[in-house]
Amino acid sequence: MNGAQALWQTLINHNITTVFGYPGGAVIPLYDALTGFPEMRHILVRHEQGASHAAEGWAKATGEVGVCIATSGPGATNLVTGLTDAMMDSVPIVAITGNVPRALIGTDAFQEADITGITMPITKHNYLVRHANDLPRILAEAIRLARSGRPGPVLVDVPKDVQLELFSGEIPAPHARPESPSPAREAIERAIEALKKAQRPILMVGGGAMDASKEIIEFAKAWNLPVITTLMGLGIYPSKDPLWLGMPGMHGSVAANRAITNADVLVGIGLRFDDRVTGKVSRFAKNATIIHVDIDAAEISKLVHAHIPVRGDAAKAARYFADHATYLENKEWHDKLQEWKDRYVRHPVWSAGYAIKQIVDQLSDDDILSTDVGQHQMLAAQLARFQKPRRWLTSGGLGTMGFGFPAAIGSALADPGVRSIVIAGDGGFQMTAQELATLTKYRIPVKIAVINNSFLGMVRQWQELFHENRYSEVWLGDSNPDFIKLADAYGIHAVRATNSEELESAIQAWLNHDGPSLLEAVVPNEHGVFPMVPAGASLEEMVETHEEAKQKQ
């Protein structure tokens, strides 16, 4: 057995049997060995960025490690965006890269890049494998690291001659999944005492609580706590439940943002108080005692001071809160929240918001919705109604255009039983549109909706509001492809809707098509996303309409 064979066998031993990759000179031994492992499904993408996002989509949908493979040099550097995205959103992926033979490392050899050096700040950890005998052990450690504690990306760089070197050891059995730390009892009891006295409490949950959904629901119901889910936390709490207030932050709901400003106790679980959530940090929840539960000690009091820090596992903490519950009536607070909940944006009949609403209304509770980044993303986050966790895949921390489509490919392969739908903009879709070839190659039934407003809509909105309508370099309409023909060129079924009447039947034709299909909704370009908290402003300065935003200027 050589190093390359040992690598595949290690992945298989870890129950990893789907990988996303792209061959190249420095991984030819790996691809050669692949032919001996028929149980391994390799998905050939068309750009390594697609492989990294597909691995992320897989990981976000399942909670298990996603794996992507690239060759040395340009192949490896093309993973950088996906790795950074995974780092920001705590997604467990393992990237395997080839490198030039050991003797050539450091000589500026053909297709050489110092990928362990390059990815140091954007991975949890990375390895340069020096001997074939180390390879399975390091790979096993990488898989364990990716999913333990606060999950994240890990890179394993394997020189070409290490792939060819004889491996003479045993392939290690998978590491036991490490027990996640229980919160300290004293800390959580202090939190319970504070919460008992609350008049205007709220519970805020982020992506770190993704696997604590059941406990979070019990916690909230037992205490009668209103719940806010961040962009990364959508689906952890069912939107059907009357306690749910929506998403906080820059494009959050009126109810969520007003609740944060007025709360006297804020329990945050599995979130990191991103600036898109907090607005001006010195004014964030300024009246509240902040209880922060997080597995990553470095997140506690990093940006928002935690009066009661609780370090530990989200599910264990929520379970403790639920088991020691005091039902808080606080009728006045709940009445006030209901009043705010009734304030939401009504979208004009033909607009991006309208089209997205029509699409998300067709989703079942099991469907997985991915988005790209921009106006359509925020509209989808505001309008979609998730009842379960891991049904919503979006790029939060990094805001990666091009993320949505390959992520949907990853999620579609992870669970062929569910429908995988992606909503993208005309800008972001073109950043990874070449993955249409991947859909065709494997007949992956992803449903793509391109919301085409002929603009980089979010930048346009900012230029409109903060730069006196100087629309600098955001017009795409003169050079966008014909998306129907583009899909057709790859052999993918596509339909177009240019008004509300066409949309309804187009959605049916799109969703009911057997196999991959694309819907293009051509929408007017003048609409912005509201409510909005202007950058640098506090949540209480949220504006609800375009006119209000202009007045504030």
Partner: protein, 198 residues
Amino acid sequence: MSANLYGDTPSSPTKDHIISVIVRDEPRVLTRITSMFARRGFNIKSLSVGTTENPGVSRMTIVVGGDDNILQQAIRQLEKLIDVIKVIDHREEKFVDRELVLVKVTITPETRVEVRHIAEDFRARIVDVGRYALMFEVTGDEGKITAFIEQMRPFGIIETMRTGRVALSRGSNADIPTQVYTDGGSKSLEPVLGDVEI
């Protein structure tokens, strides 16, 4: 109420903090540590690295400039790095710290004796003797070394080289229990990782 890392309300004054970082002796560890500081905008005032009595384990003494929030963040971010076995915040216990400096001082027949007298007062050792210069080796805490350099300045300092500070906690306990890295001879990653909470 909010204390923000880079914000407008520093919660405590900026000062120097001394920490020790016990790390696995792996390639690139120094880069991982320093790039974390660089990326987050924390200031390294001094950094010394050396091997320890345990093969495969190195020890760094880092002087961090900043307020308490920055120190706390730096420690917690360091603790997340896989190669870091332990971070010791020396505010929490008594410690000894030392620095070594080489100082080359100009001498003339008139100043030669006086320079040597001052050096004796500081217990500085002469490590090189030339016709126009003497080189001294001084160890001590930061204050002593600074004082020595100030005393020598009027005679004419040609050049100096300071090592940066090194520190150890006082008392009979080791900063990390030896069982953390039991099989000292092995470069294996497993035993180290197995005992460190990730």
